[in-house]
């Protein structure tokens, strides 16, 4: 891959007409800096910022994308008002909150525990770490679709395994079909997929703690319990913070995995914000209204992202 790029750049340099080449070579550092950054900024402006501005504009209208020829009216802030008072949206926010809280809580708990165990440095720990990491690299849509098979009552492996452990009848519960179980079904799959992410970051945190601190604590006769709470936990905390924020942002916009698992159902108990938004925008075609909804999600994520970057810089400083 790298060779391809290097030779491509070479070829590009050679293929450039001499006059241009001379100009490129003779460029000042400042000019090169801008020449190198400009294409990226341009692409992002065209495919991210321009659409964003368009969304903000649409959010003040009653435009419907499936009827582009209809007259478009400015409705001011009415879309925003409607969203903030819409009961469905609050239900979907509740579903999102439930999903966020439990996925993060479980992933932090299991992820940290696994990292701590792996950090006991047994033989083969690298191999097992790689194996544990596999689920998070896979396509959420493809894997989510297959989980609907594992969740089938009776024939599904998940139900069978639960039945085998608890002695219940495997066809007595429907993980995806039941209003009470479906919100947990999506939490389970997300936790299965993303616990390794938290684990990897915690492991890096644990490995960044200098041994000398523990040695000093040992000399001071601090108990292992005390060492854990006064050294290990505070030293890993910034890393954990990074993991939590990242998972928070990712799960706040969760779409692919859950859409494949439940499609937002049964009813709308697992209709997370993005799924709800997709329905408004691409099924009900309320483009203006869903643009306002998108803007509200943007602002929320933007806030989270700026906290994330602060946390990121703090970890980097270590």
């Amino acid at each position: 891959m790298t060779d391809v790029i290097a030779t491509a750049a070479d070829r590009a340099a050679r293929a450039t007409p001499p006059s241009v080449a001379r100009r490129v070579r003779g460029l000042s550092d400042r000019a090169i800096a801008w020449l190198f950054v400009a294409p990226t900024i341009f692409l992002l402006l065209a495919i991210n910022i321009f659409p964003l501005i368009w969304t903000i504009r649409l959010s003040f209208t009653n435009f419907a994308a499936n009827r582009p020829n209809r007259e478009v009216d400015w409705v001011g802030l009415r879309n925003y008002e409607r969203i903030l008072t819409d009961g469905d949206i609050w239900l979907s926010m509740q579903a999102t909150a439930h999903f966020l809280f439990w996925t993060i809580a479980l992933q932090v708990l299991i992820g940290f525990a696994l990292a701590w165990l792996i950090n006991q440095k047994f033989r083969g720990d690298d191999l097992w770490t790689t194996i544990i990491v596999l689920p998070m690299m896979l396509s959420p849509a493809v894997v989510g679709n297959f989980w609907t098979f594992l969740y089938q009552p009776q024939i599904g492996l998940f139900n069978y395994a639960v039945a085998w452990v608890t002695g219940a009848d495997p066809s007595s519960f429907e993980m995806l079909g039941s209003v009470t179980l479906a919100p947990w079904a999506i939490v389970i799959v997300d936790t299965w997929m993303w616990t390794p992410f938290v684990m990897l970051i915690c492991l890096a945190g644990l490995r960044s703690i200098p041994e000398s601190i523990y040695e000093a604590a040992e000399i001071d006769r601090a108990s292992p319990w005390r060492q854990f709470w006064t050294i290990t936990v505070p030293m890993v905390a910034p890393f954990l913070m990074l993991a939590v924020l990242f998972r928070g942002i990712e799960n706040f916009k969760m779409f692919d995995l859950v859409v494949q698992l439940t499609g937002g159902g049964p009813g709308s108990v697992t209709e997370l914000a993005s799924i709800n938004l997709k329905r408004e925008a691409f099924e009900k075609w309320r483009t203006g209204y869903s643009s306002a909804y998108a803007v509200i999600l943007f602002v929320t994520i933007f806030g989270l992202a700026s906290i994330y970057v602060k946390a990121l810089n703090r970890v980097k400083a270590r």
Binding site: A9, P135, V142, V143, F255
Partner: protein, 313 residues
């Protein structure tokens, strides 16, 4: 305390830790093993109760994945010449004949084209930008870098509304080019952040020496920095490729035919009376396998990739 360092865990503790980690790893692998196994089951075996662990392997799932079939009457079947090849034999056992290829091959190729196309573009643009951010004083560079990262954080569905309208106007809906540009725009933030980290690690002295030797800045970049950044560029490329490969939200909203990738397609593989699970599993296996291989290759840089270069280990 024993002879080794005070922070070295005892052998007993190591053994318990190893056992727990291995147990977790095996449980977490089960769904993946099940996908792999289901791909080689016959449709009745795949939905048997209790779930079958031992079964007679068949390629029926793979045959069904790559073909479309039509049902024929036993009399018609009798009248046909003997089957040529394994696929035809398998299909005829179910009273069917192969009618033609399925769309899976095409969708898989779309994933390959869009994945590699967008990866190449993101790396090309990302390397240039990362070099500039790493080596030159760019005004407001922190704000620009934050802006670049924040584009990655946007919920795809929210971005998809205006992109859908924009692509419809420009005629980019359901085209390879449209998807390549879109995935490049999403991946470029990752590419810039990761590559900046890798280039930051290359000592400036190398380039400075080259500049003194009479290289221009551009030559120094191509001949000194790029080879040094090779591993970093390769692992960044794999991350971009995996993202584009796995992406679903944009693909499902913006493509439907010509440019549709595999993730929106695989869940729609239907058999008689619902999903054809062996075929779905076969498709999933073929689709997930390259990512598994890449993950193993990447394992040293994994952490860096998933944290935008913040955690380097």
């Amino acid at each position: 305390m024993s002879a080794h360092s005070v922070t070295e865990p005892s052998p007993g503790r190591k053994r318990v830790a190893a056992a727990l980690v291995v147990a977790y790893a095996l449980i977490t692998l089960l769904p993946l093993m099940w996908i792999f196994a289901t791909g080689f089951k016959s449709p009745p075996d795949s939905i048997a109760y209790p779930p079958k662990i031992a079964f007679e392997p068949t390629l029926e799932g793979y045959v069904n994945l790559f073909t479309t079939r039509t049902r024929v009457t036993p009399e018609q079947l009798q009248a046909l010449p003997p089957p040529d090849g394994l696929a035809e034999t398998i299909v005829r056992n179910r009273d069917m004949v192969i009618a033609g290829p399925s769309k899976f091959g095409e969708r898989f190729m779309n994933s390959v084209i869009i994945g590699f196309g967008s990866t190449f573009l993101s790396i090309f643009l990302g390397t240039l930008a990362a070099y500039a951010f790493s080596r030159f004083r760019i005004p407001l560079s922190d704000d620009l870098l934050f802006f670049i990262l924040s584009t990655r954080m946007m919920p795809p569905i929210a971005v998809a509304i205006p992109i859908f309208l924009m692509y419809r106007t420009l005629g980019l809906s359901d085209t390879h080019l449209g998807m390549i540009l879109l995935y490049t725009a999403v991946n470029i933030s990752l590419a810039v952040w990761l590559l900046k980290g890798f280039i930051d690690e290359i000592p400036r002295e190398y380039e400075e020496a080259a500049l003194i030797d009479g290289y221009t800045r551009f030559q120094a970049f191509v001949k000194v920095v790029l080879p040094q950044a090779a591993t970093g560029i390769a692992s960044t490329a794999i991350f971009c490729l995996i993202f584009a490969w796995n992406e679903y939200a944009f693909a499902v909203l913006l493509t439907s035919g010509t440019a549709q990738t595999a993730p929106p397609f695989i869940p729609t593989i239907i058999g008689v009376g619902g999903q054809d699970w062996p075929a779905v599993a076969a498709g999933a296996t073929l689709f997930l396998l390259p990512v598994l291989v890449f993950t193993v290759l990447l394992r040293k840089h994994l952490l860096r990739g998933i944290t935008f270069g913040a955690v380097r280990k």
